[in-house]
């Protein structure tokens, strides 16, 4: 059972990193809009656009 003295602090460290990730996401505004991601989920990845007639490189968003 002494393994618990190692295992639990390790688990807590993982939990802590999760919390930090959450805090970072909240602070950078990623969680401000909780409705649009639900709609984006329904979108399919479109096929890459045809090569443009001008030689400007296509700037694709995701």
């Amino acid at each position: 059972m002494s393994v618990l003295f190692v295992a639990i602090p390790a688990a807590l460290a993982v939990a802590l990193s999760g919390v930090i990730a959450f805090l970072w996401a909240a602070r950078t505004g990623q969680l401000d809009d909780l409705e649009t991601p639900a709609l984006r989920m329904l979108h399919d990845e479109s096929s890459p656009p045809p090569p443009k007639r001008e030689s400007a490189p296509a700037a694709t968003g995701s």
């Binding site: 059972m1 618990l4 003295f5 639990i8 807590l12 939990a15 999760g18 919390v19 959450f22 805090l23 909240a26 602070r27 505004g29 969680l31 401000d32 809009d33 409705e35 649009t36 709609l39 984006r40 329904l42 979108h43 399919d44 479109s46 096929s47 656009p49 045809p50 443009k52 001008e54 030689s55 400007a56 490189p57 296509a58 700037a59 694709t60 968003g61």
Partner: protein, 851 residues
């Protein structure tokens, strides 16, 4: 389906030109490729493969095909709407002051926020976020669907873009990958989403920060509670089996440490509330909660150090987590409801024509106009700023702001206000106030503040909950001393349990929650209600005053009667086709299937009608004055009949002789009578006050009363009532009870503000929206009935919540006093009761199913 049909017909057209379909014969109309609406026959191109209802749809379709974005149509199933493009060139977006006001810079990228019109479904999100593919130079585009805000990041091209002959920004040089705000705006506009610049007001920024803060604390509390409970589980299961003392201490310590973030950081929300309550000497729900939590923390820590007794940290952290989630939901819901109510686009225009020293006009954002700057306002424009007229002579329509229906004279020295309309001639104005300082903006803020006033029932609930809370704290003290004989530990437990389990959720939490849930539902169903006070007033029976147009009738002039020669359709259409007079529009609409004849020498005479030559005859469509007198007997009879029905007569004469008499009027909505009868049954009284002629009003009242099957429908019905008359009537009626006013004219603004609840109906000017308490986006009587029913349901929900809360508190407090509830159970039960009340408020359908 549409494609198959049109390709069949176009194939036929190519092989052997078929004769055009006979006049007036309907065949199933082809549908627009883009928005799926039926297209009238004249707009169809006989040889085209695909048909479009308007240029906007054609352009969007072409754009989508060009960029291989036809996937839009897969996403847009069932939600297609015509493209809203305005065709503006958005030149003012390139002005340097625009970027300084609206854009934020990061590295070599600028980001602007644009409020988009026309966003209505998931496909719109898909399409808008493809902007980087459509406009080279845009690096990212994300659409916030709920707020209709597009965040566009782009590389700024710097100088003004070169412009083509038609004023559009020329495509950037190959390889440049830079763009200008105007190009972005034009593309969005062409796609059907006219953009408006957006900047978060101070209030919105603060709200966002508060939400983020709450979310952060909530998340941390959740992690904390989960971990703490996990360790506590070990303790519970270890209580049945045997556990070493050392391990017990270890897990108790772990449970405590895991809970600390929740209890000391996340719970600050409650501690701050409690401190505020103490300082203001007003009881607040956070007070007993904070006392209970802190008591539990202290006692738990003491027990941890002593090694005996209960450690309550799992319960406490769970309690904090659940309560914070309820609070977070409440804050967000309130923000949503407020946004829905305030989403009407600006009263004053976004741009101003500023004159520089050489007197050339430049389009600039209205907010950037400084005091003393000179601004040009052309005839028909809306004033962008408050100011004093420098030169020019005109008349100004200030009705929505001041309530005056007569236009006021504006000349050098006159004060003018943003949002009012310049009617007649060009004016140069020296600006005084702009942006948020204008009288219009201040009025808007006052309305917002007024709408934040709580509903009366919420105020009563607040007071009741204050007494409740004081009582609970005292009761907890009494319970502590009463149980002291069984030991300090037990006494503390009872006190904590009591403080935690009792909750005025039905009072302090559920009522404002229900109000904001109701407002949110109402907004989604098509009514923008400003504030809980209006909601509550709507639930009570009242005198409902109608303005005729738009609610009881369709608000549109239509062709209703036709006497005489029935073959003159093509001639009428030929003359009326080019005019934009309401009568002309009504006639053209009625004759939609008729092919117009060929007319020459068409002349429109003010007050008399339109005349022209067709097939060698002089044809005239116009007022009674335009025709040779005396009229034949049948025409006189027809005119008399029209007058008795309150319809407007239009005479068609060929070579001076009357051949046809038309009657135009505003048709009554067919369902109005039955719905009005239902309103009567619910206990409301009805009145009709209209600016229309008394004969028209009488006719409408007769028709409606007859169709409703009742003895009488309206308590009062008057015609020829001006805005002052309506205001006087409403004010007098208010002294005798509740008054609702339903209207959509600009004239009704003052009366709407004076009523207990002013309901503005769609189709009216923005004026009504600002003065009224409710804005109905769907016209007619049915929405009104639903509105009133919904308000009643909301009030019932509030009463139900109050009842539940009462029963719960009595039962729970009794059990606690009897010592039957441990703090753990209290921490579970109390949030459960809160959540019950909260979910009841949110999920209860108060306003409308989606029709």
């Amino acid at each position: 389906m549409a494609t198959a049909e049109s390709s069949r017909s176009s194939a036929a057209a190519r092989t052997s030109a078929p004769p055009p379909p006979p006049l007036g014969v309907r065949r199933s109309s082809p549908r627009c490729e883009h928005c799926d609406q039926a297209i009238p026959i004249e707009r169809c191109d006989a040889v085209a493969e695909q048909q479009f209802c308007c240029d906007g749809c054609r352009i969007v379709y072409a754009m989508l095909k060009q960029h291989a974005l036809a996937g839009y149509y897969d996403h847009a199933v069932g939600a297609k709407r015509p493209a809203l493009a305005t065709g503006r060139d958005y030149a003012e977006f390139d002005d340097p002051s625009f970027l300084s006001l609206y854009a934020s810079k990061r590295g070599d990228e600028q980001t602007i926020e644009l409020l988009l019109e026309g966003v209505h479904c998931a496909a719109c999100v898909w399409l808008v976020e493809k902007l980087p593919e459509l406009v080279p130079g845009v690096t990212e585009c994300r659409l916030d669907y709920a707020r209709r805000l597009a965040h566009v990041s782009f590389r700024d091209g710097g100088d003004q873009p070169t412009r083509n002959a038609d004023g559009r920004a020329a495509a950037p040089a190959p390889g440049a990958a830079m763009t200008h705000p105007s190009a972005i705006a034009q593309t969005l506009d062409r796609l059907g989403y006219p953009p408006h610049p957006h900047r978060d007001g101070e209030r919105a920024r603060l709200q966002r920060r508060e939400e983020r803060d709450l979310l952060t604390r909530l998340g941390v509390a959740g992690a904390s509670a989960g971990n703490s409970m996990l360790f506590a589980l070990a303790l519970y299961s270890g209580g049945f089996a045997d556990m070493e003392a050392g391990q017990m201490r270890y897990f108790r310590a772990l449970s405590t440490i895991a809970a600390l973030p929740a209890v000391f950081w996340s719970a600050q929300v409650f501690y701050r509330g409690a401190l505020g309550a103490v300082r203001a000497r007003r009881p607040h729900m956070d007070l007993p909660l904070s006392i209970g939590i802190l008591l539990g923390v202290t006692w738990g820590l003491a027990n941890l150090l002593r090694g005996v007794g209960e450690v309550y940290f799992d319960s406490l952290s769970t309690l904090v987590f659940v309560l914070l989630s309820a609070r977070f939901l409440q804050v967000r819901q309130q923000a949503h409801a407020e946004r829905a109510a305030g989403s009407a686009l600006a009263l004053a225009p976004r741009t101003a024509r500023q004159l520089d020293s050489a007197d050339t006009a430049r389009l600039v954002p209205a907010e950037s106009v400084q005091r003393g700057a000179r601004v040009e306002v052309l005839a028909g424009d809306v004033f962008p700023v408050d100011g004093v007229v420098e030169s020019g002579d005109s008349r100004v329509d200030t009705s929505w702001l001041t309530g005056e229906s007569a236009a006021s004279h504006a000349r050098a020295g006159s004060a003018v206000f943003a949002g009012t309309t310049n009617l007649m001639g060009r004016l140069v104005v020296a600006a005084e106030q702009s942006g948020a300082e204008t009288r219009a903006a201040r009025l808007w803020r006052d309305m917002e503040r007024a709408s934040a006033r709580r509903a009366p029932i919420a105020s009563v609930a607040d007071r009741a909950s204050a007494y409740f809370l004081i009582g609970i704290v005292l009761l907890a003290g009494v319970a502590f001393f009463a149980w002291l004989h069984a030991g300090v530990g037990v006494a503390v437990q009872v006190a904590i349990a009591l403080l935690v389990v009792t909750c005025p959720c039905g009072l302090a939490l559920a009522t404002p929650l229900t109000v904001s849930a109701a407002l949110g539902q109402a907004a989604r169903a098509g009514w923008l209600i400003k504030g809980g006070a209006a909601l509550e007033a709507l639930a009570r029976p009242a005198l409902i005053v109608f303005d005729k147009t738009g609610t009881l009738t369709f608000g549109q002039l239509s062709l209703m009667r036709w006497f005489g020669d029935a073959s003159l359709g093509p001639q009428i259409k030929a003359l009326e086709a080019a005019s934009s007079h309401p009568i002309a529009r009504a006639l053209v609409l009625a004759l939609a299937d008729v092919k117009p004849a060929l007319a020459t020498d068409v002349v429109q005479r003010l007050g008399r009608g339109i005349e022209g030559r067709i097939d060698g005859h002089a044809v005239c469509v116009g007022a009674v004055l335009s025709v040779q007198q005396p009229l034949p007997a049948w025409a006189e009879t027809a005119l008399a009949e029209l007058a008795s029905e309150g319809l407007t007569p239009v005479l068609v004469s060929v070579d001076g002789l009357v051949r046809t008499v038309l009657g135009l009027g505003d048709p009554i909505r067919p369902e109005a009578a039955v719905l009005l009868a239902q309103l009567r049954e619910r206990g409301h009284r009805l009145a009709l006050l209209s600016g229309d002629r008394a004969s028209v009003v009488d006719h409408v009242v007769c028709e409606l009363t007859r169709a409703s099957g009742r003895e009488s429908l309206f308590a009062t019905a008057e015609g020829d009532v001006g805005p002052e008359g309506k205001l006087a009537f409403i004010e007098a009626a208010r002294t005798r009870g509740n008054v609702f006013m339903v209207g959509d004219g600009v004239n009704d603004a003052a009366a709407l503000a004076a009523a207990s609840v002013g309901i503005a109906v769609h189709g009216g000017a923005e004026a009504s929206l600002e003065a009224a308490h409710v804005f109905a986006t769907r016209p007619g009587v049915k929405p009104l009935l639903e509105l009133v029913d919904g308000a009643r349901r909301a009030l019932h929900v509030i009463y139900l919540n109050l009842g539940f809360s009462l029963v719960y508190n009595v039962v729970a407090a009794s059990l606690c006093l009897a010592g039957a509830v441990t703090p753990l159970w209290a921490a579970i039960i109390m949030p459960l009761s809160s959540l019950t009340v909260v979910s009841h408020s949110y999920h209860r359908r108060m306003f409308g199913k989606r029709s």
